[in-house]
Symmetry: C2
Subunit: 232 residues, 2 copies
């Protein structure tokens, strides 16, 4: 398996390139519109055909690269079930497995940051956690029908129950971390450690964060697969 | 082996944490002063004792975290031979192997970006290339006694001769790439592919880059192991 973590400095987003190099087929998870040229170049250099663009959720902080990549490559655009993205090729359900050659990518329901959100377990030993679980943090729950109690349940019941040694790859990091493990997050994530569900809800409800700068632009664009003109 | 890539957004620097978790001993390569709190916290969370801070070279774009980390942990500070860092615990020579438990870190002479520079081959299968070789790029050669012809020789003779599948981990990336391989860089690095040594020298000499913002502060501080007050 070829696996690459790619970073967008503008939105602090991690995009993941996952490929079965033996058959030259690839998936991009959470591509960013401003990085399409970089990602498309890398695919070509590595001799890969893009089969799927896969989203963990409808993002509020950046516009997805899926629309542009679909134009360039003819790939399918896949989003979580219940995501309001009518242009998606497919809505993926919890437990569903996407196969790319020998690679298996299993969707894990992780609602709470938004009301449609999947984490993706890749070949059973690494999980792309989207905005549900960050390294020593988690996504906010105060817009896009987010819900703190639901996020607490998703993380503690659907992610912290994975094997301890599972690698954790988030959709963002704001401190320069790139990777963690389920064991580490269970032991050290300050959002969850030592907090009951009710205490977590109180904490999240008290954050009073400003809206993401690009939210008003990004959410409607992402509901159109990142086709900004169509969304305008 | 525990291996973590850590990013400093201010200087676009990659710091590497390498540890033999079975004995709890760690090395930090190219730590950044502004990230010492993050790195020290991570060491403690992972139950690691910092044995060495290891520099690829005397940096011009950020101040090393070595001085602060030495105060906090008592670690040794190791720099390449000929680096003008009188406070270093040890100057490492080409071919010399640093052992941390079962991990072997071998110094590879890679002069040219500066006149003292080492890459580090970790357990034979991944190379930390410092500012000699970037992903699809290379370090500049126009200050700190840099020399384009020397860098060309270092990269083509001492790095591109490593096995194709060797992982490449640079000290910086400015496009959001995190990892490459020797094979990829031999095939796709636009600084080297299709250029003779003389053409490379002409290209590098024509770059006319502005000095790094922090150069006048960083170089003297780094010659004092990052002890800014001592250098002031």
């Amino acid at each position: 398996m070829l696996f690459r973590q790619l970073f967008d400095q503008d939105s602090w987003t991690y995009t993941y390139l996952i490929a079965d190099a033996s058959i030259g087929k690839a998936v991009l998870v959470d591509p960013v519109i401003g990085q399409v040229d970089r990602d498309y170049k890398l695919l070509n250099e590595l001799g890969l055909t893009l089969t799927y663009c896969l989203e963990t959720h409808v993002h509020a902080d950046h516009i997805t690269g899926t629309g542009k990549l679909r134009e360039l490559t003819g790939c399918e655009g896949i989003v979580p079930e219940n995501a309001e993205v009518s242009c998606a090729s497919h809505h993926i359900s919890p437990g569903e497995v996407l196969k790319v050659g020998e690679i298996e990518i299993q969707a894990i329901a992780t609602l709470g940051h938004t009301d449609s959100h999947m984490a993706y377990l890749v070949n059973g030993d690494r999980v792309l956690t989207g905005d549900a679980l960050f390294i020593r943090g988690c996504g906010r729950t105060d817009f896009q029908s987010g819900d703190a109690g639901t996020l607490y349940d998703s993380v503690t019941q659907n992610l912290f129950t994975l094997p301890d040694e599972t690698w954790v790859y988030p959709a963002h990091d704001y401190r320069g971390h790139s990777i963690s493990t389920i064991a580490e997050e269970k032991q050290w994530n300050p959002r969850f450690v030592g907090r009951t569900r009710d205490q977590f809800i109180d904490f999240m409800d008290g954050l009073n964060l400003p809206d993401p700068k690009k939210m008003m632009e990004a959410v409607p664009a992402n509901q159109q697969c990142g086709n900004v003109l169509a969304a305008a």
